[in-house]
Symmetry: C2
Subunit: 213 residues, 2 copies
């Protein structure tokens, strides 16, 4: 249940996608919730935390999710202990005033900073179109997803992020309102199947992707 | 230059955004490049690695970047040792066949898997519209950005991700082609200014953001 591997380099640099798991492994819901809580230490735009999680960890839930998942992802859906579907919440700014008012009341920011947030940042969201809100929530969701991939490893599991599902039907399939949420990614978590070969994919030499302005 | 803090829990759970840095600190370019390389162990959709980095670490480069940055971000731009601007590359799939052919030739995937990639995944990108490619590259860029925030801490620095810049002018300002790239986030890295108060923002109780399907 706690972090069992606290070696940062091992957790991050030895991570690779695992797509076939030992189906006999169960992860307690309290541990799944704890891993999600840990992942939400991720930063988010204006601390809006525009992320939302649907945990799929029963045969019935997997059957619902598979209505939208692409067939080539069935093996990992079938064998993972749990799939955490991450959605972006385009309505997160509707509680914005309340969130920052509390930060102010707790004495963590000045009145000047509070006014700046209410007068500068808040209107950006209140006047934003769906595209902006989608991108913003997608970035938040991807960052929390990256943390969840690492936290899973720190807990002794392996994981794989995937978006091989029908973007139009996946939200209703997992019970979320498409008018409010956007799909970001699904993360399958479990222990690797005993016979699964490790696929360490290559990365480009980062120098070829970097410029010094 | 190497990882100086390898404690996973400390690196991830004690991370918070720092926006004012000690301007006397210089980070060697080799170390910046090493941190970027470490961050690119992040996963990406179909291993396309749709990320691109522009490092801003001189007064001249900062002046260019500030043409697009919003004024409330000037303090962190001015004081950070470096800003790493992360763009998403919507053309990353143009080298797709080459990338996976090499993985196949290295004996890491079967011919069957290679055919699946070429016949199933590749057409998704080749026939995709700009919106799909933007979202896909944005997710890749956000995940690598999250890893960079953690790697910076492991190297003994602090960081802050921000997108307070003009989305239309920031790409030309940093020398990137808007027809190809999309802005994802900027990450300011440095050592905190001595007198900067720590703002530990609150997170929602993750249970309120989680459903079990």
């Amino acid at each position: 249940m706690p972090v069992t591997n606290n070696d940062f380099s091992q957790v991050m640099f030895d991570r690779h996608s695992v797509r076939r798991f030992d189906p006999s492994v169960t992860i307690p819901r309290a541990e799944l919730q704890a891993m999600i809580a840990s992942a939400t230490t991720a930063p988010s735009a204006c601390n809006l935390q525009s992320w939302h999680f649907v945990v799929i960890d029963t045969p019935e839930a997997k059957a619902k999710f598979k209505q939208a998942a692409m067939a080539f992802n069935y093996p990992q859906v079938d064998t993972a202990s749990a799939i955490v579907f991450i959605a972006g919440d385009t309505h997160s700014h509707l509680v914005y005033r309340d969130v920052w008012q509390k930060v102010y009341e707790a004495g963590k920011i000045s009145k000047e900073k509070l006014d700046q947030i209410f007068n500068t940042f808040l209107p950006l969201y209140e006047h934003a179109g769906r595209d902006f809100l989608t991108l913003d929530a997608t970035i938040d969701g991807a960052m929390v997803g990256m943390q969840l991939l690492l936290v899973a490893r720190a807990h002794g599991y392996e994981a794989n992020p995937f978006s091989g599902y029908d973007f139009k039907t996946v939200l209703p399939a997992v019970g979320l309102d498409p008018a409010r949420f956007v799909p970001v990614m699904a993360i399958a978590i479990g222990r690797p199947a005993a016979d699964v070969p490790v696929l360490k994919t290559q990365r480009y030499d980062s120098q070829t992707l970097t410029e010094f302005l």
